[in-house]
Symmetry: C2
Subunit: 180 residues, 2 copies
């Protein structure tokens, strides 16, 4: 039995082996988890925007013990109230890029989400690109942005708006080629 | 690899062993599943009401392959559109009591839900009670009703309303003792 979690949950309620617990987790995350990339305006950066990856899992308050289990298994992240639904909803959130790169992504490459596989793949490519510093060049930044829009188009700004705003900022000296 | 599901999903996307897939399923169900007992008016029954257990798992249309996986693993149930959200939401539904009793309940006794353990326990007790025919006596029917209300009070009728309607139907000849 997994006595290592006994301060969080009665071990008799858990799968008997760590590996089984990992498959439980990928099933749970396939339902309730989210690999998201937000694009935020931030004036003090080179292109005026940041690409911000976040992994989170949402639960009603009564499910807190499972979020604590995730935090222990991944050994990173934090549990917070969901903004706007503070009284009822909790989230397990990992947004520190080093932890996403070193802990979250390798886990889900090994224990593959089924429903969220496509979403996870874009997420992993973007995080890996950021880790390599691809966002520091204009071409690299645009490529990562386009990938983020392939992952989801449900965003406050269109890709065209952001590319235009970058173009204006960087100036006419650098030519911005648009992807297909 | 689990080639037995290859008509549903690329086996390389699945856990490598059946047992691992079962832990994935309990994680998914802990998030997206529901063990529910509905209480429905039905005039042509002895007490005028039926106790109707249903297990279902909800998914967006894109998640259909996982519902097909569940149907194959449990070897029962059906996949339908969710009433009112036919265009976007699917449900895997098991409502045939024999299948709940013989397939669904034993599975989740072995692969325990963590978040939904309490809900599952009430569900299992009610299904087992129905299988034993406890609902055929007035006392047994009331006990099962009370259990259903312990599982959830979010219902169209209050327990008191239903007990009163049964009392009127059965008549003054049988005394209806109320539970604590």
């Amino acid at each position: 039995m997994l006595y290592e979690f006994k301060d969080i949950i009665d071990p008799s309620m858990l799968p008997s082996r760590r590996k089984y617990l990992h498959y439980y987790i990928v099933g749970l995350v396939d339902g309730e988890g989210c690999f998201s990339i937000s694009i935020k305006k931030q004036e003090d950066t080179r292109f005026g925007w940041v690409i911000d990856p976040v992994f989170h899992v949402t639960q009603k308050k009564e499910g807190e013990q499972v979020l604590r289990l995730l935090k222990r298994v991944f050994n990173c992240g934090r549990i917070t109230s969901k903004p706007g639904q503070e009284d009822t909803i909790l989230q397990y959130v990992v947004d520190y890029r080093k932890h996403l790169f070193e802990r979250i992504i390798p886990f889900f490459k090994k224990y593959k989400p089924i429903l969220k596989w496509r979403e996870f793949q874009y997420f992993a490519e973007i995080v890996e690109g950021l880790e390599k510093g691809e966002h520091r060049s204009l071409e690299g930044f645009k490529k990562l942005l386009e990938k983020a829009y392939q992952l989801s188009e449900d965003r406050r700004h269109t890709l065209e708006e952001i590319l235009r705003s970058i173009e204006e900022r960087v100036g006419a000296s650098e030519t911005i080629r648009r992807g297909p």
